[in-house]
Amino acid sequence: MPDYDVVVIGAGPGGYVCAIRAAQLGLKTAIVDREWLGGVCLNVGCIPSKALLKNAELAHVLRERGEYFGFSVEGLKLDYGRAVERSREVADRLVKGVGFLMKKNNIEVHMGAAILRSPNSIAVTNSEGEGVELGAKNIVVATGASAASIPGLEIDGQRVLTYREAILQTQAPKSVLIVGSGAVGLEFATIWNGYGVEVTIVEMLPRIAPLEDEDVSKELAKEFRRRGIKIMVGTKVDNIEVLKTKVKATVVGDSGKEILEAEQALVATGFRPNTAGFGLEDLGVQLAESGMVEIDERMGTNVPGIWAIGDVTGKLQLAHVAMAMGIVCAENIAGVETIELNYEMMPRATYSSPQVASFGMTEAQAEQRGYEIRVGRFPFQASGKSLGMGETAGWIKLISDARYGEILGAHLIGPEVTELLPELTLAQGMELTFTEIARNVHAHPTLSEAIMEAAHDAEGQAIHI
């Protein structure tokens, strides 16, 4: 039985990064995955969706904005199949890259489903049914999460889809019903809307992007509506009936029951952690009520030698958080210096059009916690770069503590705003204030200038509004 210092179960962004860091720290490391290297993120999540979103953006411009930019295309043909094919090429290329990184770092890859036999041994069964036993001083559970449905919605993969089928299917529907308006629902709405699909979003809570700052939800809803996306908030989907060529959904909102029809439905109501069926419970690993693996700040579970990172812990179901957790986990296993992650200040990104990016507290949360806050704002309407790009929707909102100037959060909506967070999160981590950001000269014209302007505004004097 080969013996490892660390065996990582799950080769998603959490798992493969953890394995690399562990190997870098001199630990003998193996990684196991039942399906693919790169996990959800590279294969059916972050990466292919971003490729599709680029296509959708171009499609949107070609279809809708010729007049504004001054071109016309006769007989415009949009090949959605090619868009998906391109997204596969991108995903495959990155997955190959992960394979290369495993080799480079001498990490042994075992493809197959893992079952924990004891805190020190794992059985892996490959697709041919052959099994190997791996000995491990440490086991890192990085098994991710799967789409969660809601009662009444039967997922058949043809008419009623999860993100998995949606991202892989080579044809776009004519009309679609999206249940749930978190990042996944909003991104698919953007993709399909770009291709001219009739999109209806049904959200149970009173606003779309319900976890974001309220102003962001409002602005996004306004923009989505302007693009022709139908939004029904405060509306619950009771059931979805699958007919031959369409789905028929019964929804209940303020105005009572309503029947909606569409060619397909996407269920994007969240994720549940992959904790069942591979022996976690048998070893006594503690799960929270929500089913997530409970961990401490070192990423350790209650069972010594068993660790957990990424979506399976339900901290923030984002790839970069999984990766950061992976690094911290490996460092704790190796016993070298590491850091404690502050989940509240992790960047959050949604790649809809317009994009949404945020970290830290919303305005409402900061007030609830008793902060006297200072808010700085800047609209992209007043940004030269965004005018030039022809994308002026959105704004930036920065929040700080009025007393000591500590940065508490930021909420951005607009073109490419997901690229604008690092300056702010770095400043937050280093406990800089908006004074320093306002004084940091930004290249002109850039979108990032809007941050500088909003910081000036927080300090009392914006220059360009």
């Binding site: 000591y404 500590e406 280093m430 800089l432 204030t433």
Partner: protein
Amino acid sequence: MSTEVIMPRLGESLVEGTVTKWLRHPDDHIEEFEPLVEINTDKVDTEVPSPATGTVLKLYVAEGETVRAGTLLAVIGEPGEEVPDAPPADREEGATQVAPPKTADQGTPKAGRDGLGFISPVVSRIAAEHNVDLSQVSGTGSGGRITKKDVLAYIEGGRSAAPWEEPGSGELFRPTEEFFGDKPGTVPEPTGLADTVLPLDAVRTQIAEHMVRSRRTSAHVTTLMEADLGRVLAHRKEHKQSFAREGANLTLTAYFVAAAVEALKEVPIVNSSWSEAGIVLHKAANVGVAVSLGEAGLIVPVVKNAEQLSLQAIAKAINDLAERARSHKLVPDEVQGGTFTITNHGVTGSLLATPIIHQPQCAILGIGALQKRAVVIEGLSPSGEPEDSLAIRPMVYLTLTFDHRIIDGGIGDHFLGIVVQRLQSWA
């Protein structure tokens, strides 16, 4: 039912104080025992806790106002409750003195002070507001950076081990005796456009009054000797750990206090004060030790009955007083009743200074910077011939500034000689 917050009597002889900062404002919620207001007296800075849980309904005294003990400061209760709107009855007319409250908004303090590494703007603002000496705070951030969490923890709880020797400021000490006489007159007009006027806060005013008054009162004479601290340093090195196990941070100051106390025992007249009736010889050796509060001035907590204390007990007492001085938690009686004072001006690099006597005491011992110096050691060759050699020794200049009204030069020198002798022969 509403609860009144009354200006407490902060010490035996303390009947008034200045409200420097309201920590809660009307409509704010406050828990019982949470600090409500910062009060500054000529002796100490302190926080007055809320006597009840509830909502702050009304504040009766503005920041900067000085009021007498017993004055109504605020009312805590349920929102919407009736509050008395009569102004506090027994505020003393004319006792109002305006001291500008310290606020964080007077520009961002300079970051990155010597030796502390990068100090973030947020940390710097918190430190300024709470008068924290950041050299006392240990950093847990990357590269040992002091984070917001670290300063807040430091402010909250034990301002951790405050090595007494470390910081200091040019001032020698802050008065600890009664509040003296008249208040200063008017603020001078700026003489040019570029000039600024730093308002005189209570501490500054009191230091000024005391210094001038002491100068006018005593006949200051300073005598200087030097001491070789080789044995003290060896002793400290050997015992630091065992003392630490007993909870005492063994600082050099403890040795100076111990040596001074022995000299006071041998030369009791130095442990005295001048009075109209005659020279009062004090039975107890209550040794004041100047503690820097950074920009907030200096304070001189007193090690009481030091003549009864071992080196370890002295070290502990100093640790405790210095720590609480820096966290503004001294009670007024702890800065009163000194009979002799030690000022360790060497911590800021000064080799030699002539401190001002802390009234109404007889003398003050000044300690210069510890410095390795080449000294001539007189000795004998193996054959018995006088043979001198050069040696590098840890040397310190000691000054005794005494009141020539009480003692004459010979006695002062005798006293200081004993201190030196004791330090040099430490075992």
